[in-house]
Symmetry: C2
Subunit: 410 residues, 2 copies
């Protein structure tokens, strides 16, 4: 049935498409499939009991406030907690630098709204986070890409990309989604130097920074940038906008993220957020604060690190055992994902079709490449399946790959 | 301190401004001020106990699901409940016609994103809902206005406005924000006829429809449109997109609203919502469903009607007693607001300044007029103050008005 709306869609809808991943997830979420496709945290580590007592406390003591409209900037005690917590990692900010968002996705959306004019170029890693591409496509962004290797964005190619005049640089330095790789300290310094030289500011997206399973914590871009500009008063300089989230540490079903930015950028983001959803759910902000306070969040993150670290180990060991030598994969020091590279003639979409028959799933890597390529790559999640499922799923995946290899040889 | 961001804002930010109301609310929210400014539900009717037991039930029985990522379309049992509930009011839809949004504000935002190209004209009532203007300004909308009177949008002026070629009509037929007036049945029919004649579809925004304190429920535009096109199979025809919310019936701090639209429009909205916030908080959707089911929501709405209806009566009686004859005001049959008109030489912003000294507040009406005018108008909320405060606040407001009148005469 035709409706009068279909002749009325805005031009920008031509650049919007449903996330290939989210569409795929519908097929991969059947209960008999071992899915490495989603980016889902393990539900067995959700602090359900703590949420229960926090909900009870909040509703008993501050029910009317927690259920009422609230300010666009976000719940002040939560913003204060984020500011305190950021200081421990060397990000010297006040609550005026913090905006609570409805998940990190909203931070990407409203940054696009206030910064991107149609045709503006954004410098990104290739591959990069799919939902950032999706959010910014709707504002008419074009993408300039810098290739990745095992040390993250390859800064040898950065200067050439900066010469193309990007409005800003978007980088995921820790355990990147989708590749799982981490930007080396040397390259972090080089990124900041070159960004300064070309006068291009940076958006640092850091959803997984706290989920490190081995190795030393590397200072974030926002901290290194402050040190780079240090005139004896190290503080937040505003050249780097920093994004993070409670989705990977508390629970994604709350939709709680945050932006760290200079106050005048925060005030533009507040205007954009007013139009987008007035404010993030008051109840969720108050409950997240109640759950996190008193050191619980720190203890809980230690638990998550143990569980996910063990799952990563199981997956890497299974891949070592089962995967044919034609396949390469990354060695993530944290986060939720690793990244596989098949022989160049192989198409990961075809492989996925065979895998679905074998009841195992992953996400083909091509859509993560905003300027094309990566047909033979795949993203594999290790946080959401338990060790037995990981073992079995990697076996099935390797059998599917070997089938494809055998057919090619014949 | 200058940052590199301020030279990089997108052009659309020039049309975005912080809501005058939300900025004003900061001044009017001091505890010693009796505020008729916000659009806040009364916190004393929030069903806090029901929320507590629903949170406990959800976390005990479905904690992992309620805290996990979920689909962009929304929690299916909640969408089914909305579809069933809509049928009682004559809107014959299935869950495929329903998208859960992060408050009605997000519905306005993503409708703007998928429908409005820069320069597109949107036909609105004048005055109209401020946050719709704000959301659509950021997509470059222009507004064509039709004046209001005590029977809502004056359809005698509608045809002229339709000749200017609007992309769609935006109408709030029930107890409109800001005026509190209701579109008469005759004019509802006329609106549908003219919209059909000019081939222009309608967005019906109905946050308050269930909060009627007197008179008969009038069928919504979406229902009348189905009847208008009835070929013996009355069903949802898709010419009218219908918006509503749980903010005025359950609690605004959950940020839960919904859109009713044809499936192909829902699928475009889903794409826009994926980029905006992936999905609305799973936990809030499951808890709202748990609170609402089994007839609780119906019983609770009866309580809200009693409380708000009594407050409206107190306010109207106090205005009758105290307000000078130079002031006119609307008689709302439901909702949260009434609308005052001062003598044409008087500026409601000046009056607000005097009122803040007298510790009473309202919202000046001018910003609700997208094409200007209304300097002498004001929006007055009657849901959030208790009867004693309403009595005292209206007395203070009338004294401030009389001061202004006396000075004009001198």
């Amino acid at each position: 049935m035709k409706t009068p709306w279909e002749y009325r869609y805005a031009q920008r809808t031509q650049r919007m498409e449903s996330s290939a991943i989210r569409e795929l997830l519908k097929y991969t979420e059947k209960p008999d499939i071992i899915s490495f496709a989603g980016g889902l945290p393990a539900p067995d580590v959700f602090p359900v009991e703590e949420f229960k007592s926090a909900c009870n406390r909040v509703l008993e003591q501050q029910g009317a406030m927690a259920l009422q409209y609230s300010t666009t900037e976000g719940y002040l005690p939560l913003r204060e907690m984020i500011a305190r917590h950021s200081k421990r990692y060397g990000i010297k900010i006040t609550p005026e630098n913090v905006l609570i968002t409805s998940g990190s996705q909203q931070a990407l959306d409203i940054l696009g709204k206030i910064l991107i004019d149609p045709g503006d170029r954004i410098l990104v890693e290739s591959p990069t986070y799919l939902a950032a591409i999706q959010a910014w496509n709707s504002y008419g962004a074009e993408f300039i890409t810098v290739p990745m290797d095992d040390d993250g964005m390859n800064t040898d190619h950065l200067e050439e990309a900066l010469r193309a005049g990007p409005k800003f640089i978007y980088v995921l330095p820790n355990f990147q989604n989708p590749t799982g790789v981490t930007l080396s300290l040397e390259r972090r310094h080089r990124l900041i130097e070159l960004a300064d030289q070309y006068g291009v500011p940076i958006v640092e997206d850091d959803p997984y920074g706290q989920l490190r399973y081995e190795g030393e914590h590397l200072p974030s871009i926002v901290v290194l940038d402050s040190q780079f500009r240090d005139d004896g008063h190290p503080c937040y300089r505003g050249n780097v906008i920093y994004l993070s989230t409670f989705s990977k540490t508390l629970a994604p079903g709350l939709r709680l993220g945050w932006v760290v930015a200079p106050p005048e950028v925060i005030s533009k983001l507040v205007q954009a957020k007013q139009g987008a959803d007035l404010h993030t759910a008051t109840f969720n902000q108050v409950v997240a604060y109640e759950v996190s306070r008193g050191g619980f969040l720190d203890r809980h993150i230690r638990l998550i690190r143990e569980v996910y670290g063990a799952r990563r180990d199981v997956m890497l060991a299974a891949m070592d055992r089962h995967f044919p030598s034609e396949v390469n994969w990354t060695y993530p020091q944290g986060g939720l994902f690793l990244w596989g590279t098949l022989p160049s003639y192989m198409d990961a979409r075809d492989l996925l079709m065979s895998c679905l028959e074998k009841k195992v799933a992953f996400v083909p890597g091509e859509p993560f490449h905003p300027t094309g390529g990566g047909k033979n790559t795949l993203r594999i999640n290790f946080s959401n399946a338990n060790p037995e499922e990981i073992e079995e799923g990697i076996l099935r995946l390797s059998l599917a790959i070997e089938d494809k290899l055998a057919r090619q040889v014949v």
